[in-house]
């Protein structure tokens, strides 16, 4: 596959276990809209099993960044390379579209803030979960349904709702269904855009707890965009703070939140409402 490249200095790569190398590597990524900056010169790595939070207020460029690294949006400059299942690093923007889309529906997941953007509202919950399985060639109705049913259970949706359409579901259930739909192919990397946004606090807590469990059980790597620092603290190992398109501070999540260095991070942290 000529579209895949190995990262420079790959001579000793075979000797290094895949878990000892980044799963995703972002380098010099910028997205410019005419005179407006989406995000500028962002570089970071995500390691297997790591949860990275990207925080910042609306307009800080965090969603633009997420869309670029998940290949939903072409960056102006910069590269995103991903460690494919065979261990090689693939340049996401030099892959063929077929390869990229295959990646997106097998080894990656994308959880949208609004479940309507990530679900098929007019097909049943079971088919929503089963779609990815069918897309990768599963052709046994019984086993597709069994797997869908198991996943509904894992996201705490009653098995007897399997034939209901998501429009009959509450916001929290829809979001959990969207998560199941993404995880059914056992992706290694999941992108999440404000997954708890717009949910009631109690529903949010349940979802966060569920996500936390799934992430650790499945050893998922997650890149989560959120403006909620409490969500970032609960879920993430590492954090990037963005302002005006730039990463202004990054590090271990509790270090950044307990000992913020940049003026803007201090402002963000001091703005959290205490309960």
């Amino acid at each position: 596959m000529s579209d895949e490249i190995l990262i420079e200095g790959d001579a000793g790569f075979a000797a290094v276990a895949a878990s000892e190398r980044p799963l995703l590597s972002v380098s010099g990524l910028s997205k410019i809209y005419g005179a407006r900056i989406g995000c500028i010169d962002v570089s970071f790595d995500v390691w297997p099993g790591e949860v990275l939070a990207i925080v910042g207020e609306s307009g800080s460029g965090k969603t633009t960044l997420l869309n670029c690294i998940s290949s939903r949006l072409a960056p102006t400059t910069g590269t995103v390379s991903y460690q494919m299942r065979d261990g090689r690093m693939g340049d996401v923007f030099r892959m063929s579209e077929a390869e990229r889309r295959h990646l997106m529906r097998t080894d990656w997941g994308f959880v949208h803030q609004n479940p309507i953007d990530g679900l098929r509202m007019s097909v049943s919950a079971g088919a929503n979960v089963g779609e990815r399985l069918m897309a990768v060639g599963q052709r046994h109705y019984g086993s597709i349904r069994a797997e869908a049913s198991e996943w509904l259970g894992r996201v705490e949706i009653d098995a007897d709702r399997i034939d209901d359409q998501p429009r009959a579901f509450s916001g929290g259930m829809r979001q959990r269904l969207q998560i199941a739909r993404n995880l059914v192919t056992e992706p290694r990397l999941v992108f999440m855009d404000e997954p708890t946004g717009g949910l009631d606090v109690s529903v949010q807590a349940r979802l966060l707890d569920l996500l936390r469990g799934l992430v650790s059980d499945l050893g998922l790597s997650v890149i989560i965009v959120t403006h909620d620092l409490a969500v970032a603290r609960l879920l993430s190992d590492r954090i990037l703070v963005m302002k005006e398109g730039r990463v202004i501070e990054s590090g271990l999540t509790d270090r950044v939140l307990d000992d913020p260095r940049a003026p803007y991070t201090q402002l963000l942290v001091s703005s959290i409402l205490q309960v």
Partner: protein, 235 residues
């Protein structure tokens, strides 16, 4: 005995950007070491920076200068300059921490909160819960609370969950930030016994105890943090 933790020339201050860049120096020239099976206690008046030192050792606070070397899998790692992944690895396998307050996670039972560090290190969930339960029993935490999320527990109950969570693993270094602050005498004695057991197992402990009784019972030596106060060293 060879040291497992060596702190040298560590300095820490805060810059308060929201208050016009006000600089608040916390500690300077911090230096001490810790050996296996030893319990050292950070002493000095409150506000002198004892908690800050513990947090720097745990990688929770940034370090402005100096080194914090810890023996991690037979190699020394400088926590002061290590990257996030390395700090996480050190926390998983080498340095444990019992904080003063429990950061409760919604919906997770007390038993799972305490068992989590073991599960993260690969112990089966059932076995980890069993060990957590044994610690709860030792700490006299009523069994009806075990399956409940600790968010609604009293301060003393939360602290016992926290202690179980910190003591459940066999981390070679354990940092204790006032683990007995809200405990009654009985449970305080249990904690003292737990600390002694850790010492016998060769664990190096560094703690902050305001309770003189506990301190006298466990401390092998006192490290006076006032010696690291910026005013004094600046003079």
């Amino acid at each position: 005995m060879s040291p497992i933790l060596v702190v040298s020339e560590v300095a820490k201050g805060f810059v308060m950007h929201l208050r016009g860049g006000l600089e608040l120096p916390v500690v300077r020239h911090v230096g001490f070491s810790l050996s296996e099976g030893e319990c050292a206690v950070l002493g000095g008046p409150s506000g002198v920076g004892k908690s800050s030192i513990l947090k720097m050792l745990y990688g929770n606070y940034g370090v402005d200068a100096g080194q914090i070397l810890v023996r991690h899998h037979e190699r020394f790692v400088d926590v002061a300059s290590a990257g996030p992944r390395q700090v996480l690895a050190v926390r998983r396998d080498t340095i444990g921490y019992v904080s003063q307050f429990l950061r409760a996670v919604p919906r997770v039972s007390a038993l799972d909160v305490a068992a989590e560090p073991l599960v993260m290190r690969g112990t089966a969930a059932e076995e980890a819960r069993r060990q957590a339960g044994a610690l709860f029993e030792q700490l006299n935490l009523p069994e009806r609370l075990w399956s409940l999320p600790p968010a609604t527990f009293s301060g003393g109950e939360q602290q016992r969950v926290n202690i179980a969570r910190g003591f459940i693993t066999d981390h070679p270094v354990l940092l204790l930030d006032e683990p007995t602050a809200s405990l009654d005498a009985t449970n305080r004695d249990v904690v003292i016994e737990l600390i002694r057991a850790k010492k016998r197992a060769g664990v190096a402990l560094l703690g902050i105890f305001h309770d003189g009784e506990v301190r006298d019972a466990v401390a092998d030596r006192i490290i006076d943090v006032s010696a690291f106060a910026p005013e004094r060293t600046a003079a």
